[in-house]
């Protein structure tokens, strides 16, 4: 598939899914999956990163528009977008020569699992920390991060396995 078309499709489908489906789940009253983080995980690797960083920022900003939350989604998604390359270098031991052929499907599941979980936890922790804007209720931030991360991870792996079986 054409890569820019794929990114555009990913952008809008994740935006609408998150706003109209996943923001309304509220399992046990406050646990939500933040599945739009798949944009950062699935985005094709490139040496040039301006467009990727900017699109991640934009996706977060659009989510903030919908949920009246200032810039918390924009910041947390931008942050994981920025550190994605470091994570891939550390976990998958890739150099800049491998970027073009890199595909999560061809990597061993254990490494992919580590990569996804670390991304999700960092993103969720930042999201809840900036949303409450203080360290006063750090315990509730940590619990929210834990529960929501588990929920997001389950949905993410279920979703990817479903989509993979079709192909």
């Amino acid at each position: 598939m054409n890569k820019s078309l794929y990114v555009t499709f990913l952008f809008f489908s994740l935006l609408l899914l998150q706003v109209f489906v996943f923001n309304n789940i509220l399992f046990l009253g406050y646990i939500n999956p933040y599945i739009y983080i798949a944009f950062v995980i699935f985005n094709p690797l490139k040496e040039e990163r301006f467009s990727f960083l900017f699109l991640s920022f934009l996706l977060g900003l659009f989510l903030d528009f919908f949920s009246d939350s200032g810039g918390i989604n924009a910041f947390s998604l931008l942050f994981v977008a920025y550190i994605r390359l470091f994570l891939i270098r550390v976990i998958f031991k890739k150099t800049s020569l491998d970027y073009l052929l890199f595909n999560l499907r061809n990597e061993p599941f254990g490494k992919v699992f580590n990569f996804v979980i670390i991304t999700i936890v960092i993103h969720h922790f930042l999201l809840f920390l900036i949303a409450s804007f203080s360290f006063n209720n750090i315990s509730s931030i940590l619990f929210q991060t834990l529960y929501s991360s588990i929920f997001t991870a389950i949905l993410f792996f279920l979703g990817t396995s479903l989509l993979r079986n079709k192909k």
Partner: protein, 275 residues
């Protein structure tokens, strides 16, 4: 010069990242300030329109509870009307001036909630009323079961409401059976409970007492229901009272926006007092 160019070349992604995150953090800080949150709000035509479409789809699921609410309110109003009729019948004087019309202080507009949040630290709702319907910033929003919030961002067709479940909301409230008043805030933990602070110590508060709005602001009429006292913490000089809301904030559909017809008069008086 070459050094600077080399530096920018080397850290260009990092500089771009810092630039974008500064924007994001700036927006977050602005959003915490009631009067500054101009840029990012769902009260614009694109997000408002999309939310309205999705509400039209899901509204049918809640029709039963909305009907129940309406019937309850009708019963209450009919009872009050009968009470008034009895009083009017027994009065022998015939007043020529229609006092209702001349002393009306508030008028109500009915609207529908098209987006509701209650699980975040700072919650906002979106209603399908805007300046076309005469709704302006800083107007009270309520329903038959009690208080909901205050409008802040308004455009032609939609208005954003700062919910009472918002850590920046501060609302004047008092006990129903005495005139001791305090401030209503929310600690962000449970969406069924808000906190009443700054209530004087000599106020005799019992568990189960009803809390209503105090009417000491130009926004709220006096006597809008809020909730009942659930727990009283007297551990320090400032007592904090937990209040269970009458409204289930996770399940609200139709609301009234309260317009204060005397607002400009009251405001002008308050301004002369300050000078």
């Amino acid at each position: 010069m070459q050094q600077i160019a080399y530096f920018i070349q080397k850290y260009k992604y990092f500089l771009f990242f810092v630039f974008l995150s500064a924007i994001a953090l700036g927006l977050t800080i602005n959003n915490n300030d009631f009067h500054k949150s101009k840029f990012i709000s769902s009260a614009n035509s694109i997000t408002g329109g999309l939310y309205e479409k999705s509400t039209q789809l899901t509204e049918y699921l809640h029709l039963k509870s909305y009907n129940k609410e309406l019937i309850d309110e009708n019963t209450l109003l009919k009872n009050q009307l009968d009470l008034l009729k009895i009083r009017l019948d027994s009065a022998t004087e015939v007043t020529v001036i229609d006092s209702l019309k001349y002393h009306q202080k508030y008028s109500y507009v009915a609207g529908r909630i098209i987006k509701n949040d209650y699980h975040k630290q700072n919650n906002f709702l979106l209603i399908d009323l805007g300046s076309n319907q005469g709704v302006l910033s800083e107007m009270a929003v309520m329903n038959s079961r009690g208080l909901i919030g205050i409008t802040d961002q308004v455009n032609k067709k939609y208005a954003r409401v700062q919910s009472i479940l918002n850590s920046n909301s501060k609302i004047n409230a008092r006990l129903k059976n005495s005139f001791h008043f305090g401030t209503l805030v929310w600690n962000g933990k449970n969406y069924n409970k808000v906190q009443l602070i700054d209530i004087p110590r000599q106020a005799n508060v019992q568990i189960g007492d009803t809390i209503i709005t105090g009417g000491k602001s130009t926004i709220f009429p006096e006597g809008i229901l809020i909730g009942t006292v659930q727990e009283i913490n007297h551990n320090n000089a400032l007592s904090e009272i937990d209040i269970k809301l009458f409204n289930d904030m996770s399940n609200i559909g139709y609301v009234y926006v309260v317009k204060n017809l005397d607002k400009s008069e009251i405001k002008s008086l308050e301004n002369t007092e300050n000078e």
